[in-house]
C-alpha cells in the first residue's frame, strides 16, 4: 500500500495531463491513444480508489485538489466509460467524494455537482433520443427495458451489413466502406468484453474486404486477444483462427501466455497442461492452418534452445503435438494441406510413420514401426541428408515423445536371451543424446545393452531385492563415467522395470529412494511417472496393476516433494 501511494502522485500528474489532451479534441490520434492506455488507466483508477476510500472527503481535496477535474474528464470520454470495469471504478471513486452531511454552501455545491456527475454516468440520459424517450414513457417502459433491446438490434444490423459485404462483393449498395469498418473496429476496442458485442466482434474478425491491406485497427486485435486470454470473451475457433492469421502478435502473445503457465512455480500435471492447451485453441487452430502450426512450432523450438531443453518446454511440445494430432483427425479424414506444409524440414515418409498413433497399430507390430523410424532417422542423422541436421531430426522426434518410451518398454520386455535389436538401441541413444557424436552414441548403446541384459534376466524372477536392481544398474567399474543423459536413460529403464516386472512392485519404493539422491532427480522421476500415466491414458492401455502402482507412487512422491501442495 505504501509503495502504491508513493507512486500515485507522479502517476496522478501523468494521467491528469493525458486526460487534458484527450478531452481537448476527439481526433483519431487521441482515440488511438486512449485505446492504447485503457488497461493502465483502469489500473490507475483502481489504485486511486484504494487510496481514496481510506480518506474522508476533506482530506481528499487536500491531497488531490484537482480530483474533481480528473474524475469529470474521465467521465466525458465514452471510450473510458465503455471499457471493462472503468465505469464501475469511477462510480466508486465518486462515491468517496459524496458527503453525507455538507456543512456549508461550498460543500453543498460540490456535493450536488458530484451527484449530478454520478447520475449522468449511470444513466447517460443526455444522449437519449427525445422521441424515443417520450414513446417509451407513454408506453410504460423504462430505459432498462429499452436499451438492451436497442443494443441487440444495432449489433445485429451491423453484423448483417458486414456479412453482406462478403456475399455481394462490389455490387451491393449496402456495402460498408473500409473507413466505416475501421471506425467500427475502433469503437469495439473498449467494448470487446461486453457480451452483447460478441456477434459484432466475430463478424469483424471474419470480415474480408476487398482492400489489399488490413482494414481493422491493430489495437482491436490486441484487445480481442487479451480478452480471450483472460477468458472475458468467448468466440468460436473460426474467429480466433482469423484473429491469429491476420495479426501475428496476437498469436505470439498467446504462446507467451501459455509458457507462463507451463513454467510456473507449481509443477503442473500433464493432465492440467493438456487442459490449458485445449482451452488455448492453439492445437485446433494449428490443425486448421499450417501457418499457425509453423509459428507455434518455431516458438517452441526457440524456447527449447534458449532453455537448453527444459523439461517443461519439452512437455509442452509433446502435449501440444498430441492435441494437434487429435484435432487433425477430427478436422478431416484426409488432410486439407499436405504434410509437407506442416513439416517442411522432414522427410514425408518419416512424418507419416511418426504421426501414426500407436494405439492404431497392433502391439505386436510396434517393433516394426520403431525399426522403421530408427532407420529413417539414422539415415538423416548420419548422412546429413537434405533434411537438416541432427537437431532438426531430434526436434521432430521429440514431438512424438511416446515412441521413445515405447522403445524403452519394448526392449525391457523382450526375451532375456535374445539380442536387443541395434535399431532400437540406436533410437534410444539418439533420443537421450542427439548431439552425441558417432563414438559417444556407440558407447551409450553399449552401456544400455549391458544394463538391459541384466534387467531382462531379472524381469521374470518372482522375488527381487533392491540390491539386485542396484547391481544391474551399476556402472562398469574402471570405464568412463556415464554421461548424465545416459544416467537419465538408465533411471528411466529402472522405473519401467519397476512398473512392469511382476516382482518390481514390492521393491518399488525402496529402489526409488535409492535412486532419488537429489531434488532434481526426484522431480525427474515425478515427471516421468506423470508422463507415463498420461501416455498410457492416450494409448488406452489397460495394465491395471502397473497403473495403480504408478498412480500411488506419483501421489506419494508429490506429497514428499511439496507436502502442502497436492497438485492434481
Amino acid at each position: 500500500m505504501a509503495a502504491d501511494s508513493a507512486g500515485l502522485p507522479s502517476n496522478y500528474e501523468f494521467w491528469m495531463q493525458k486526460l487534458s489532451v484527450w478531452t481537448q479534441a476527439s481526433t483519431l490520434e487521441t482515440q488511438r491513444d486512449i485505446c492504447l492506455h485503457l488497461p493502465q488507466f483502469q489500473e490507475f483508477l483502481r489504485q486511486m480508489h484504494e487510496t481514496l476510500k481510506e480518506m474522508d472527503s476533506n482530506t481528499i481535496i487536500e491531497r488531490f485538489p484537482t480530483i474533481y477535474q480528473l474524475l469529470a474528464k474521465s467521465c466525458w470520454s465514452p471510450f473510458i466509460l465503455a471499457y471493462d470495469e472503468s465505469l464501475k471504478i469511477l462510480i466508486w471513486c465518486l462515491c468517496c467524494l459524496i458527503k453525507k452531511d455538507p456543512q456549508n454552501s461550498r460543500e453543498s455545491k460540490l456535493n450536488s455537482w458530484t451527484r449530478r456527475l454520478l447520475s449522468h454516468i449511470v444513466s447517460t440520459s443526455r444522449f437519449d433520443i427525445k422521441e424515443v424517450g417520450l414513446f417509451n414513457q407513454v408506453l410504460g417502459y423504462a430505459p432498462t427495458d429499452y436499451y438492451p433491446g436497442l443494443l441487440k438490434n444495432m449489433v445485429l444490423s451491423l453484423v448483417s451489413e458486414l456479412r453482406e459485404n462478403r456475399l455481394n462483393g462490389f455490387n451491393s449498395q449496402r456495402r460498408m466502406s473500409p473507413e466505416r469498418v475501421r471506425s467500427l473496429s475502433r469503437i469495439c476496442v473498449p467494448l470487446v468484453t461486453l457480451p452483447d458485442f460478441e456477434p459484432l466482434v466475430e463478424a469483424l474478425l471474419t470480415y474480408h474486404g476487398h482492400e489489399p491491406q488490413e482494414v481493422l485497427w491493430p489495437e482491436f486485435f490486441d484487445a480481442v486477444n487479451e480478452a480471450f486470454l483472460l477468458k472475458k470473451i468467448s468466440l468460436p475457433t473460426s474467429a480466433i483462427l482469423c484473429l491469429w492469421l491476420r495479426h501475428l502478435p496476437s498469436l505470439e502473445n498467446t504462446m507467451l501466455h501459455l509458457f507462463e503457465k507451463l513454467i510456473s512455480s507449481e509443477r503442473n500435471s500433464l493432465r492440467r497442461i493438456e487442459c490449458f492447451m485445449k482451452e488455448s485453441l492453439l492445437p485446433e487452430a494449428a490443425a486448421c492452418h499450417p501457418a499457425i502450426f509453423r509459428v507455434v512450432d518455431e516458438i517452441f523450438r526457440s524456447a527449447l534452445l534458449e532453455t537448453d531443453g527444459a523439461p517443461e518446454v519439452l512437455a509442452g511440445i509433446q502435449v501440444f503435438t498430441q492435441c494437434f494430432v487429435e484435432a487433425l483427425e477430427k478436422e478431416n479424414k484426409q488432410l486439407k494441406f499436405a504434410l509437407k506444409t506442416y513439416f517442411p524440414y522432414a522427410s514425408p515418409s518419416l512424418v507419416m510413420v511418426l504421426l501414426q498413433h500407436p494405439k492404431d497399430i497392433p502391439q505386436g507390430l510396434w517393433h516394426q514401426s520403431l525399426k522403421c523410424i530408427s532407420e529413417m532417422l539414422k539415415e538423416v542423422v548420419e548422412d546429413y541428408g537434405s533434411y537438416g541436421g541432427p537437431f532438426e531430426s531430434w526436434f521432430l522426434f521429440v514431438h512424438f515423445g511416446g515412441w521413445a518410451d515405447i522403445t524403452a518398454e519394448q526392449l525391457l520386455m523382450s526375451e532375456a536371451e535374445a539380442e536387443p535389436p541395434e535399431a532400437l538401441l540406436w533410437l534410444l541413444a539418439f533420443s537421450c543424446s542427439p548431439g552425441a557424436g558417432h563414438q559417444q552414441r556407440a558407447q551409450i548403446m553399449v552401456e544400455v545393452k549391458t544394463v538391459l541384459g541384466h534387467l531382462t534376466k531379472l524381469f521374470r524372477s518372482p522375488a527381487l531385492s533392491a540390491r539386485d536392481l542396484q547391481a544391474a544398474a551399476e556402472e562398469n567399474q574402471g570405464g568412463d563415467p556415464r554421461p548424465p543423459a545416459c544416467q537419465q536413460l538408465v533411471r528411466r529403464l529402472l522405473l519401467y522395470f519397476l512398473l512392469w516386472a511382476p516382482g518390481g512392485h514390492a521393491i518399488a519404493r525402496e529402489v526409488i529412494t535409492l535412486m532419488a539422491q537429489t531434488d532434481a532427480i526426484m522431480n525427474e522421476i515425478i515427471g516421468l511417472l506423470d508422463y507415463t500415466l498420461y501416455r498410457w491414458d492416450h494409448l488406452c492401455m489397460e495394465a491395471r496393476r502397473s497403473r495403480k502402482l504408478a498412480r500411488e507412487l506419483l501421489t506419494e512422491l508429490r506429497e514428499q516433494a511439496s507436502p502442502r501442495q497436492v497438485n492434481q
Binding site: P102, V138, A142, Y146, S183, L184
Partner: protein, 393 residues
C-alpha cells in the same frame, strides 16, 4: 397470495414516489426499506418464474394498475410493466433514486453505500445489483457510442435499429395489455395516438406490422417458459385498431412513403382493399386541366398526380397476390371508364370520364413500366405523350 399482491401494490407506489420530490422526506431507513422490498420482489420473480398461476396473478395485478392510470390525466410514468420487470425492479428503483436531486444528502449517501459497496463484496445479492447497474450503464454507453460513430439510419425503415426496437416494444406491450383485458390494446393505441408526434408513431406502427414473426422458441426464451402468448397477437390487435379508425387509416396511408405501404399491404392483405379504396378516392378528386395539360386536384390537400402514380407503381412492383389485385382493380376501373366513353354531358359525367382516363393511363403506364422495367422518367414521358394525344381530342 393476497399479501404478495399487496406487497406488489405498495412497491409500485414506492416506485412512483421515487420519481417525485416527495423523496426529500425519505431518510436512510426508508431507503433501506424500499431497497429491501425491491429485493424481495426480485426474489419472488426468481422463485415463481415458472409457476404459471402465481405469475399470471401478479401479471394481472400489474396490468390492472396500468389500466387505472388510465386514459385521462397525465401520462403514466414508467413503473413495473410486466412480470419480467420484477426481475430488475431493484435496478429500476435505484436508477430513479440516483437521478432524483430531491433525495437528501444523507439518504443519497446511504443509497450509494448500498448500491456500490466496492470491490470484494462477500454478499452475492449486493454484488449482483452492483454488477447489473454497472452493466446497464455500460450497455447504454455502448449504444450511444455505436449511434454516434457507426450508426447509419437505414433507408429501409423497418430494418432501422431504433425503429425496430420501438416496434418490438410496442408489440410486446400490446400483448401484455391484451392479456389482461380485451379492449386494452385498442385503448392503449388511441392513447399513444393522442400523445405522441403522429408521423413518428405511424412509422413505428408500420415497422411493427413488418416485424418478422419471431420463432416460437425465441419467444419462449424471452417471455419465459409457460407463457401462453403467441407472437402474432400484438400485430393482429394493431391491424384491427388501424383499420377500425378511418381517420387514422387515412393518415397512415397518406403520410407514409409508398414503398413502406406496399410492404405493409403485401404482408397484411386486410390492408390492401382499404389502401386501394383510398387511392381510388384520391384519384377521383383529380380532374384534367386542358390548358395546362395536367391532372390536378381541386383542393390544396388533394393528393397530386405524381404521388398517386408513384404509389400505384410501387404496388404494381410488389410480389403477387398484391400485384395481381392491384392490376385487376386498375383494369376494372379502365373498363368502367370504357362504359362512359363518348358521354361528355354534365360535370359529373365529365368527372367519371376523367376518372376512367386516369386509370387508363395509370394502368397503361404502370403496366408498360413493368413490362419494360423502365424507370420512372421514361414512364412519365410516355404519360406525357398520352396526355398530348388526349389534348387533341
Amino acid at each position: 397470495m393476497d399479501s404478495l399482491l399487496e406487497h406488489l401494490d405498495r412497491f409500485s407506489e414506492v416506485l412512483a414516489v421515487s420519481r417525485t420530490t416527495h423523496v426529500s422526506t425519505w431518510d436512510p431507513a426508508t431507503v433501506r426499506r424500499a431497497l429491501q422490498w425491491a429485493g424481495y420482489l426480485r426474489h419472488i420473480h426468481r422463485r415463481f418464474g415458472r409457476h404459471a398461476r402465481i405469475r399470471k396473478a401478479l401479471e394481472q395485478r400489474l396490468q390492472n394498475q396500468w389500466k387505472q392510470e388510465g386514459d385521462s390525466g397525465p401520462t403514466p410514468a414508467p413503473g413495473l410493466a410486466n412480470f419480467q420487470a420484477l426481475g430488475h425492479c431493484d435496478q429500476l428503483l435505484s436508477l430513479q433514486l440516483l437521478a432524483n436531486p430531491a433525495l437528501g444528502d444523507a439518504s443519497f449517501h446511504f443509497l450509494l453505500q448500498q448500491l456500490f459497496p466496492g470491490p470484494g463484496v462477500p454478499d452475492a445479492e449486493e454484488e449482483a445489483l452492483q454488477g447489473s447497474l454497472a452493466r446497464f450503464a455500460r450497455c447504454r454507453a455502448a449504444a450511444h457510442m455505436l449511434r454516434f460513430h457507426a450508426y447509419r439510419e437505414n433507408p429501409v425503415l423497418q430494418k432501422d435499429s431504433v425503429m425496430k426496437t420501438q416496434a418490438e416494444l410496442l408489440l410486446r406491450r400490446l400483448q401484455e395489455v391484451g392479456e389482461a383485458e380485451a379492449e386494452g390494446p385498442g385503448r392503449l393505441l388511441s392513447r399513444l395516438w393522442e400523445r405522441l408526434p403522429q408521423s413518428n408513431f405511424l412509422k413505428v406502427v408500420a415497422a411493427a406490422l413488418l416485424l418478422p414473426a419471431a420463432s416460437p422458441r425465441l419467444q419462449e426464451e424471452e417471455l419465459g417458459v409457460g407463457s401462453p402468448r403467441t407472437p402474432g397477437d400484438g400485430r393482429q390487435e394493431l391491424l384491427r385498431w388501424l383499420l377500425g379508425k378511418s381517420d387514422i387509416a387515412v393518415a397512415f396511408c397518406r403520410n407514409l412513403p409508398a414503398e413502406l405501404l406496399t410492404s405493409v399491404a403485401g404482408r397484411h392483405p386486410e390492408l390492401s382493399p382499404v389502401y386501394l379504396g383510398l387511392l381510388t378516392n384520391w384519384g377521383r378528386q383529380l380532374h384534367y386541366d386542358l390548358p395546362k395539360g395536367l391532372w390536378i386536384g381541386t383542393e390544396p390537400q388533394d393528393v397530386p398526380w405524381e404521388e398517386l402514380f408513384s404509389r400505384f407503381q410501387s404496388l404494381c412492383q410488389a410480389p403477387p397476390p398484391l400485384k395481381d389485385e392491384v392490376l385487376t382493380a386498375l383494369k376494372s376501373y379502365k373498363a368502367q371508364d370504357g362504359d362512359f366513353e363518348g358521354n361528355t354531358s354534365g360535370n359529373a359525367m365529365n368527372k367519371a370520364y376523367d376518372w376512367g382516363k386516369i386509370f387508363g393511363k395509370l394502368h397503361h403506364t404502370t403496366f408498360l413500366c413493368q413490362k419494360k422495367e423502365c424507370k420512372e422518367d421514361e414512364a412519365r414521358k410516355y404519360k406525357d405523350d398520352l396526355q398530348g394525344t388526349e389534348a387533341e381530342i
